[in-house]
Each structure stands twice: as C-alpha cells, then as structure tokens.
C-alpha cells in the first residue's frame, strides 16, 4: 500500500480580488522508502503542497481540499487535531529552508531535541537526553553532550541544519519532507547535508520528498520527480526519464536554463515572461504565455495527460521528442 496518496489536492486563499489557488489539483503517490523530488520555480506551489499535506497552512484564510489525502491509512483531511499532532513529527517530519530562523533562539538545542522525543515516545527525561546525544552524533556533531546546552546562534549554518535533521529524524518518521533544505547553505555544506540525509534516510527506510528548485540536486538524489508549475504538476516520472526526455514545455525550459558542467560556454536560455497569475484558473495550459514549444492546439484545448515509457507522464500537447537529442 502506498505510504502517501494525494489526489486532487487544492489549497486556495480567498481574497478581495478572487481566489488564489496556490495548489491546484495536485495528485501523486509515494511508496515507503521512495525518494521523490518536487521541482519548480519560486511560487510554483511546492512548499504550499508540503505544508498542506501536513495541514500546517492556516485555515482560514486558506482552504485545503482534496479528493483523497491519505497517509498510512489515515485520512489527513478529516482527521481531528489530536491525530494530526501525533502524526506530525513522528509519522511525517519536515525540515525547512533557513535553519537559523527555524530553531527557537531562546531554547537550548538539547531541549528542542528532547521535547520531540518526549512528546511522541514514551520515555523519561534521562533516556531522552541520552537519545538526543545519540542523534547529534548520528548527524555528525562532535562533542554532542556538551552541545546539548548550546543555543542555535552558537552554531554555524551547516551545523544548525544538522540539528534540524536530527530533530526531524528523532522519532523515526516514515516520511521526511525537505523544503529547500540546502538552499540557504554554502555549496560545500550543501553537499555534506545532502549526503547526510541520503545516508540516514536510506538506513532508516524513510521516504523523502525533496523540494527544490535545483534540478541537479534532485537529479542526483531522487528516484522520481514531479515538476510543478502554477500550482499544478505538469510532468512526473523517474528522474532519468524526465530529465533526459522532458515532455513538457516548462520542463524543457527549466533544463535549458540550468548551467551544465559538460557544456561550458553554451548560453543559457531563460524562460521568458512573468510568473503566473494564480487567480487565473485557466482550462488551458498555464504555461502557455511563456512557452516556446506551443502548438496551435494549445490555444484551444486543455492539455491532456500523455504517458510515456517508464511510468512517465506529462500534461503537454506538443511532441518534444525532437528536442531530446540536443539535451544529451
């Protein structure tokens, strides 16, 4: 059975102007232990999707609806607050982009670790302390015992993110959502953190959703990837398939503007136009205004889901196979 099933997830904000659909009909499933990437530009709805799954969006003003939002058999949409709180932290855990702002500045690291443990696992203070030390060592923080009494501002960015990972994995969650977890870090630290998460989650068998706008990161880490635009998933499939045989105008655009080590000197192709208006629930393809591979049909009909070999799907009418060669 799938670990997480999302079908028709829509998160909307109602404003004086109209309804903004930050997430518009998103569907995907996640198997236990699978690593899924969620890519797209800023504002594509990646973070809001994750927050909506965890029901961390403030409702109102938001409204989270879905045909199905199921985690390990629990209906997250209709669950009562208590159940949701039990799942958060121990079933699904999340790490955020800016570790400095995501850790409480006036509580010690030790306290922020042990409180999660005490909340979800039935252990006493001392056992929690010992476990906290283990966790810190697990994420590679030296002199763990001494650091239990430290405060977040005494750590560097990379170390803080390690602490966040420790907190997130402390109760052995079945799903870890990493929301731009490396974006705020230096490149070398990024690599360390990515590797850390990869190893730990592999050992624990945790499924991971990596949210990022960094295609390279996702390509190296994930089994499958969902490409999001304007709150919808426009392409999904195994990483190799999607990145080597992109089948949506947006994906091609994204890849086209990603710098490549093996193509030094080739000019990058930016995607023209401005970010989409999320109030516009157009029946046509949302990427149409900015797409350079659009065909006449795109202006008339709604894009249908086309399937490609290997469990690869895209919401695009154009045939982009001719472009695949130039991407190799």
């Amino acid at each position: 059975m799938a670990l997480l099933t999302v079908r028709g997830l829509t998160t909307s904000f109602s404003t004086d102007q109209g309804i903004i659909r930050a997430v518009n009909g998103v569907s995907f499933t996640l198997e236990p232990g699978e690593v899924l990437g969620l890519v797209g530009e800023s504002g594509s709805g990646k973070s809001v999707t994750a927050l909506s799954i965890m029901r961390l969006v403030r409702e109102p003003p938001a409204k989270v609806q879905a045909e199905l939002l199921d985690f390990e058999g629990t209906d997250l949409l209709r669950a009562d607050p208590r159940t949701l709180r039990d799942i958060r932290g121990s079933g699904i855990a999340m790490i955020f982009q800016d570790p400095m702002r995501s850790l409480n500045p006036v509580l010690t690291i030790g306290r922020q670790l042990t409180e999660t443990l005490v909340r979800h696992i039935n252990i006493d203070g001392n056992a929690a302390r010992r476990r906290a030390i283990e966790l810190l060592e697990m994420v590679g923080i030296p002199m763990a015992e001494k650091h239990l009494g430290s405060y977040p501002h005494q750590f560097s960015g990379g170390m803080r993110q390690r602490v966040m990972i420790a907190i997130a994995l402390s109760c052995n969650p079945r799903l870890l959502i990493a929301d731009e977890a490396t974006t705020a870090l230096d490149v070398t630290i990024q690599a360390q953190i990515v590797e850390l998460v990869r190893t730990l989650t592999k050992n624990l068998g945790t499924a991971v959703i990596w949210i990022s706008h960094d295609l390279g990161l996702v390509a190296g880490l994930c089994d499958r990837v969902n490409v999001m635009y304007a709150g919808r998933i426009v392409e999904t499939g195994p990483v190799r398939e999607v990145f080597y045989r992109p089948s949506h105008g947006y994906t091609i655009g994204l890849i086209g503007c990603t710098p490549r080590v093996d193509r030094v000197g080739t000019p990058l192709k930016p995607i023209n136009g401005l970010p989409p208006n999320l109030m516009d629930d157009t029946p046509l393809c949302p990427f149409l205004p900015r797409c350079d591979v659009a065909i006449p049909a795109c202006h008339r009909v709604r894009p249908e889901l086309r399937s490609f070999p290997g469990g690869h799907f895209a919401n695009c009418l154009a045939d982009l196979t001719s472009r695949h060669a130039e991407l190799r």
Partner: protein, 314 residues
C-alpha cells in the same frame, strides 16, 4: 557584559547631577521669600535670619549646591524645614509605602496583561482582541485619578468593601487590614499601567507567532499550549520583563495623584506637600532618590535583558 555595566554605572553620577542641579535651580527660582512664606508674616526678622542661615539660604546658589552635594556624600540630605525631621528619616518612612503600592499595582498589571496579551494575540480580530484593544486604548485615555474616584465611590462608599484610608497608621491586625487599604489604589494605578504591558505583549506575541520556529514547533507535533507557552512566550518575555522593570521605576513617579486621593503617605505626596510648603530639602532629597530609583530600575531592566536573551553577551 561587565564592561557595559561599568560604563552605565559611570554615567549615573552625571545624570544625577543634572537632575539635582535642575531641581536646585527650579527650587531656588521660586518667587517670594521661602522662609517668610513658611513662617508667616509675623515672625521676627531675627528668627527669619536665623532660619536663613541654618538652611544656607543666605549664600549664593552655586555654593549652596556644592555644600548640598557635600552633605549628600556624607549621607545627609538635610532637614525638612516644616517638620524639622531629617529628610532621610522621612524617606525611610515613606519610601516603603510607595514601593508597596507600586508592587501592588504591578501585580494587578501582570495578572491582567499576561493573559489578555496572549489571548489577544492568539485570537486576533475576534471579540477578545477587540476587548483588549478597547481596554488598552481606554487605559491611555482615562486619567488615573478619575478611575480612582469611580473605584472609591463604588467600592468604598456604596459597597463598603474596601477602606480608603489607613495606610501607614500601623493598626493593621489582620492580613486584610494590612493589605486592604492598598487594594483600591493598586487597582486604580495598576489597571492603567496594564495598557502599556498588554499592548507590548500582544504585539510581541503576534510577531513571534509568525516566526519560522513556531512553524517548526507545530511541525514537530507539539500541542498548541506548549507552542504558545513555551516556544512563543519565552521569546516574548524578554522585552516584556524589561518593560516591567522600567514601569516599576516609572510608577513611583506617577503615583502622586493616587497618593493624593487616597491620602497615602508615600514619596509622591511628600514631594507634593514639599512643593506646596516650599520645603526645599524635602523636594530635593526626595526627587534625588526617586530619580536614582528610576535609574536603578532601568539598569535592572538592561541586566535582565542580557540575562534572559541567550543571544546577547555583552
């Protein structure tokens, strides 16, 4: 941290000198002959001259000030011209009374502002928030003596629950007898001080609740109570506690109208009668102590800030 406080301590003498000098100048600029006013028109010129000499009123102003400072260094604040008792003794009698009143007012303020501030931040734009806003707004607009008058009328005269005099008379035999006379004045004083504190707590909490670490706390599955009371409140307490310290110092000065209405023998009313009776030593001595207390309260506030916020290490 100590270097910072050392520099703060060093500033204190300068500040106190400016304060006392200003008061001195004001006092000495009083129109009319103070001694004559005090003793009345029928006193013999010899008596007047003798009093003048004793209180050094025959010397130039600057000299008087320096001599006063000299006395101060020896712990002598002079004698009250009217009561003929040492100012220090009067201070010893009156300061504790004012402190008790201020403490009572602060207690009232804390009991109201902490829950109200938290609730208003949690339930923004609901009736609780509007109540809070209305309360803080009214708190700035009602003069505290007006509130005192209402309280006296309702609780003392009509209902007879609380006495309105009796502080400092020393015949309190029961706890209620001891605290009773303080209740109404503390309510009058404290309810309005609350406005500042409630506003501060509410806006701090609103800011804090928007922070990323609160979102993390929710993502960890912690109960809302824990998130608010531990994660959020602890951060909000830092500016709050320092404001409480500052307000304590401030209260002592503001109390004068309340002390007047309730006939409380505190420092405010001492300054008031000192001013009316042209009792210079009292005015000078009491103002000095009040200002020093205020400075002390501010320093405590800074100290607390440094202690409570782990990010600050001077």
């Amino acid at each position: 941290m100590w270097r910072y406080f050392a520099s703060r301590l060093a500033q204190i003498p300068f500040i106190l000198i400016v304060v006392t000098m200003t008061i001195f100048v004001v006092v000495r600029s009083t129109p009319g002959d103070p001694v004559q006013i005090m003793l009345g028109m029928e006193t013999s010129p010899d008596a007047v001259a003798a009093i003048r000499k004793e209180f050094r009123l025959d010397r130039p102003v600057a000299v008087q000030y320096v001599l006063w400072l000299g006395d101060l260094a020896q712990g002598n604040l002079g004698r009250s011209i009217r009561l003929n008792t040492p100012v220090t003794q009067l201070l010893a009698e009156r300061f504790p009374v004012s402190l008790r009143l201020a403490a009572g007012a602060m207690l009232v303020a804390l009991c109201i502002s902490i829950p109200l501030g938290i609730l208003a931040a949690l339930y923004r734009n609901t009736w609780i928030d509007y109540l809070c806003t209305g309360y803080t707004v009214a708190g700035f607009a009602i003069p505290n003596f007006a509130l005192a008058m209402i309280l006296i009328y309702v609780f003392s005269i009509k209902l007879g629950w609380f006495p309105i005099t009796g502080i400092g008379t020393g015949d309190a035999k029961t706890i209620f007898g001891a605290i009773g006379p303080y209740i109404l004045p503390a309510l009058a004083l404290g309810t309005l001080q609350t406005a500042v504190l409630t506003r501060l707590l509410r806006s701090s909490m609103i800011d804090i609740l928007m922070q990323d670490y609160v979102r993390t706390a929710h993502a960890k599955g912690l109960t809302p109570t824990s998130v608010v009371l531990v994660h959020a409140l602890k951060n909000a307490m830092i500016p709050f506690v320092t404001m409480v310290a500052i307000q304590c110092g401030y209260l002592i000065g503001i109390q004068v109208t309340i002390e007047y209405i309730f006939a409380i023998p505190g420092v405010g009313s001492a300054v008031l009668s000192g001013v009316i009776n042209r009792d210079f030593p009292v005015v000078q001595g009491f103002t000095l102590v009040i200002a020093a207390f205020f400075l002390f309260a501010n320093m405590v506030a800074d100290l607390l800030y440094g202690i409570l916020d782990p990010r600050i290490r001077y």
